[in-house]
């Protein structure tokens, strides 16, 4: 260990220290200063983001004997993860106050998860990948179960935990096979020794399990079973978290494992990823149609989106990888906007999580209805919004990689999924509001402003998508 190592991991070091301080603060003074946790967490996020930017200046470099990679891709994913967690904190704050959920633990666990994400996207070693992932998922299990008095949240957390533990086991099993074949845990070392390894087939065997672990993390079919239950059962504030930053971590993990470590086995994992992508697209676009619960519908839409993301990875080119990263960022901003609107409408005793609950939203609150419509159109991929460019890029990458059939499947799924996104818009604009329920938009100023900015960013980034795409490409090619 040298000073250089420490400078590279400074953002994570700072975050770890701050989490410990916040933990103590919450335990001893949290009850007296109600909003302090929120503002302190935001401060920690801002400083961490600045340190990530600063750490980029010493990169690209590896630290701690190759365990930690500080490159442009890690910086990009970390910055957007920090942004996503900050959005989660802003959107969740009124909800947590109303529901009297443990706000201190929510912030601490979310920051712990962020630490896991940052370690995961910087991992240069199988051990780091596994530990980062465990840190992220362990915090997520606890977050889902945070509403202890809700039986549905507990059930969702239990399902998430059992299936997640199994997926971790599969991933670890695959990693042990790869280690057996190559004799090294370092991802760069695996990439270098794999082509000459006499145990080539053993590594292929391991890749199957590693991919299962990755697919579970994404929520790609057929490893998607946990996703609808977790989205529906957990408190909306937690759903928002689960739907945002962890997707960036998943794409980071997939790129590190597949692109850096297992690239010699590209023909094998390309086929497997293609199967996962097609299954996810089919389930995501078809099953979402019959959902009446908005959170559940968005969960199935997530599965579909992960299908597109996998198409980008499938291409195996640096353009495809950049398109996947771009897609993950787009998805995160779209889902924070959509769940943000649900959170803005939720109040004590009313979750606003049924599609019917949004009936006539336009008459009650035209601005919120407009934001939700923007999010829905973007999720559906209507030009010129952010979601459209994301879809276009992954399909373009697939065509460039001679995967025309995959691109066609993606395009068909996009058209099918248009139906259920537009249904939400129709319910908001053309149905008359229910008499017995009154929709009241939140009065929380920071939620209103940040939510508006988030939704308008979908439009702005759709029109000016060039710089972000360049940034993604730079992240991949280094």
């Amino acid at each position: 260990m040298s000073w250089n190592d420490l400078i590279n991991v400074l953002p994570e070091l700072y975050l770890t220290g701050s989490i410990c301080v916040l933990l103590l603060f919450d335990a001893f003074a949290g009850a007296r200063y109600r909003n302090a946790m929120h503002w302190l967490s935001m401060l920690v996020l801002i400083v961490t983001a600045l340190l990530v930017v600063a750490a980029q200046r010493v990169g690209p470099a590896t630290a701690f004997s190759g365990m930690y990679i500080n490159d442009a891709l890690a910086g990009l994913l970390k910055l957007f993860s920090i942004l996503a967690v900050a959005l989660v904190f802003v959107f969740a704050s009124p909800y947590l106050r109303m529901r009297k959920l443990a706000a201190g633990e929510f912030h601490t666990l979310a920051l712990f998860a962020l630490l896991g994400i940052m370690m995961l996207v910087s991992a240069g070693n199988l051990v780091m990948i596994y530990l980062g992932l465990e840190m992220l998922t362990l915090s997520s299990y606890a977050l889902v179960a945070l509403d202890r008095d809700s039986p549905r949240a507990t059930e969702a957390a239990m399902k998430y935990f059992v299936l997640g533990a199994m997926a971790s086991g599969l991933l670890l099993y695959g990693m042990s096979m790869i280690y057996g074949a190559t004799g090294t845990l370092s991802l760069a070392g695996i990439g270098a020794t794999l082509p000459m390894s006499p145990h080539y087939m053993l590594a292929v065997f391991g890749v199957v399990f590693v991919l299962a672990g990755i697919a579970f993390k994404f929520g790609a079919a057929p490893f998607h079973m946990w996703l609808p239950d977790v989205y529906e059962g957990s408190p909306t504030a937690v759903t928002l978290f689960v739907a945002s930053a962890p997707k960036l971590a998943a794409v980071g993990m997939a790129l590190r494992l597949l692109d850096l470590g297992l690239h010699p086995l590209f023909p094998y994992w390309q086929d497997m990823l293609a199967v996962l992508a097609v299954a996810s697209l089919a389930i995501g676009s078809l099953v979402a149609i019959v959902q009446s619960n908005l959170k559940r519908m968005l969960a199935y839409s997530t599965i579909g989106h992960m299908g597109y993301l996998l198409i980008g990875l499938c291409a195996g080119t640096s353009f495809g990888a950049a398109a996947s990263v771009f897609y993950a960022i787009a998805y995160v901003l779209m889902s924070t906007a959509a769940f943000g609107v649900i959170l803005a409408l939720a109040r004590t005793g009313f979750e606003a999580d049924q599609i019917e609950d949004l009936r006539g939203l336009n008459q009650r609150s035209p601005w919120l209805a407009g934001l939700m419509a923007l999010a829905m159109f973007s999720l559906a991929g209507v030009p010129p919004l952010f979601g459209f460019w994301a879809k276009l890029l992954v399909l373009q990458a697939a065509i460039q990689a001679n995967l025309l059939w995959l691109a066609i499947v993606g395009a068909v799924a996009a058209i099918i999924s248009l139906f259920y996104y537009l249904r939400v818009v129709k319910v908001m604009y053309f149905d008359s509001p229910a008499e017995d329920r009154t929709l009241i938009a939140t009065s929380d100023a920071s939620l209103r402003w940040v939510l508006s900015l988030n939704a308008l960013a979908l439009l702005a980034l759709g029109v000016f998508q060039g710089p972000l795409l360049d940034w993604c490409l730079r992240g991949i090619t280094g």
Partner: protein, 205 residues
Amino acid sequence: MSIELLAFYFFAFFAVLGALLVISLRNPVHAVLSLVLTFFSMASIWMLLRAEFLALVLIVVYVGAVMVLFLFVVMMLDIKVAAAREGFIRYLPVGIGVAAVMLAEMVALLGVRAMHVAPPPSAAVMGGQANVVWIGRALYTEYLLPFELAAMILTVGIVAAVALTLRRRPGVRHQDAARQVAVSAHERVRLVSMPAERGGNGAQP
């Protein structure tokens, strides 16, 4: 077939048998005991691989601590009331069986260790270092970052456990031991000076 290979098959057989029993036995306590057998057999296999420190840690940590805790939990959950109360005699054959197998494994292991002629070359042995030294050095140099991250994961576990179980109920009467100890003599007994009641019926000044 060398004696080492023979020992491997022996331990591997019981590891697999134990694993099969874990998932097929009806009684959860038996299943936990079978898991102990599996761990024990695996530790013996690690011993054959000359990873003696890890093998001992597996027994001390997993068999000694984790599985005993697990056993407590299984017993506390009271999954199968009737079976759990059947009494000591009922478990005795299983206990003796597991103990006998473990004893046989240990004896076999010691025998194998005595008969080792050519130890398999491994990095630890070839470096001329003891297993513990090698692991310790790797953990605190090359694997420092994952090691620290694992510590943070344990912290997450504690935070999560507290967040999910701690309930702050207002108005619960409970003893505050610190205050009880810190109490002083004049706090225990309050002496009130009251004017003595004067005799007479209503003849007050």
